[in-house]
């Protein structure tokens, strides 16, 4: 099975035609990011790297102008307000989320996911929030429940608005997790046999039927999103959707595969500013 996967991976890599040296064990995450950034900025010289945070909108003025119009006074403000109430309400024991999280939860989202050496695995911001809940006698939220974890993070992540994405991959175990995430990103899967990279590396800026594809750089900074100004989607919920769209069985949210994927995927957006709770189509 493993041989098949590696074989598939190599075929997938060849098909992508991008020399990233991805299969080496001692990759440099910053090197990967820079190569991808260079690939895009040379392919699209008129688009500034900082505009990649707008994803597909950076490639289409008509779309971007609708985003601007809606973001001026977003219809989902009241949902984010609900998130604020959730964030500020103490647990039954009187403690608050701010008491668990570094810096009271302010300007921290850009550090997540991070590799927790003690736990030996990647920890996302949502995991940290759930750890806080269980440490204080509350039940963990289901990661795919937009009404709880979704709404809470729709506010909580805004406390990190403007923070520069700063994913650190520094220890051997962290590198292994990063590499595992990269492998997932570049592996074809599902009935449609697409890798994340098939669309978001090879075809960022191109159209898939009527849809403009967003490049992987700039992806991870702008979550959760409110689709149509109304329907809340978190990043791993979006990964879930992507797996389903290529007709693969999605791995469980918060599990090793999803978390390693988010770890790798987020590091591609290092250097870009975060902005939570934004409009998307």
């Amino acid at each position: 099975m493993k041989k098949q996967m590696i074989g598939k991976l190599l075929m997938g890599m060849a098909g992508l035609g991008i020399a990233l040296g991805a299969v080496t064990a001692h990759a440099s995450p910053e090197g990967d990011r820079q190569e991808l950034a260079k690939y895009y900025t040379s392919k699209y010289p008129n688009i500034k790297l900082e505009d990649y945070v707008y994803g597909a909108l950076a490639f289409d003025a008509d779309s971007k102008s609708q985003y601007d119009a809606i973001m001026e006074f977003p219809p989902f403000e009241s949902e984010v307000e609900k998130g604020r109430k959730m964030w500020e309400t103490p647990f039954k024991n009187g403690k608050t989320y701010a008491s668990c999280l570094p810096n009271g939860g302010n300007q921290i989202a850009g550090n997540y996911p991070m590799f927790d050496e003690a736990k030996g695995k990647v920890v996302t911001l949502q995991d940290a929030i759930n750890d806080c809940r269980t440490a204080n006698g509350e039940e963990a939220y289901k990661l795919n429940d937009m009404k709880t974890m979704g709404v809470l993070t729709s506010y909580m992540r805004t406390l990190s608005n403007g923070m520069i994405m700063n994913i650190k991959v520094e220890t051997p175990k962290a590198v292994a997790a990063y590499e595992a995430g990269k492998k997932t990103f570049y592996s074809r899967s599902g009935q449609l046999n697409f890798a994340c990279a098939s669309c978001h590396v090879q075809n960022g800026g191109n159209r898939l039927r009527s849809e403009l594809i967003s490049p992987a750089i700039g992806h991870a900074v702008h979550w959760p999103v409110f689709r149509g100004g109304d329907s809340l989607v978190t990043l791993q919920q979006r990964y879930d959707g992507c797996f389903k769209q290529v007709r693969a069985v999605p791995p469980p949210q918060g599990g090793t595969v999803m978390n390693n994927l988010e770890y790798f995927h987020s590091s591609l957006s290092n250097g870009l500013p975060l902005k939570a709770s934004v409009f998307r189509k």
């Binding site: 001026e72 006074f73 977003p74 219809p75 989902f76 403000e77 009241s78 100004g229 109304d230």
Partner: protein, 104 residues
């Protein structure tokens, strides 16, 4: 039941720029409830009025074709910073909501 609406009012030169975000489902009556399969009854804001410094400036009829959580923007010449803006709405069930702010 209705969540508070938000109003932003600023002066640009001698024109007051007013932006209102209302909270309302704006159901058309054509949508089927995903769980029950039944049509969700029409429920939408029908009338909106706005006054600035006590003078009516806007009297609007809305239909269910206005997006959920309606946004309205309008401009008024003549008011000054500090003048009060009051917005009222009524929906097809007779529910009402009001909010006010002063022009910044």
């Amino acid at each position: 039941m209705a969540e508070p609406m938000r109003i932003r009012a600023t002066m640009t030169g001698d024109v007051a720029d007013v932006k209102v975000l209302m909270n309302h489902p704006m159901e058309t009556g054509q949508r089927k409830d995903a769980k029950t399969g039944q049509l969700v009854p029409a429920h939408f804001i029908q009338e909106v009025t706005a006054t600035v410094g006590g003078t009516t400036v806007l009297s609007a009829n809305l239909g269910s074709g206005v997006s959920k959580n309606p946004y309205l923007g309008f401009k008024v010449k003549g008011p000054k910073a500090g003048d009060k803006v009051v917005v009222n709405w009524t929906d097809n069930k007779g529910d009402k909501n009001t909010a006010e702010t002063t022009i910044a």
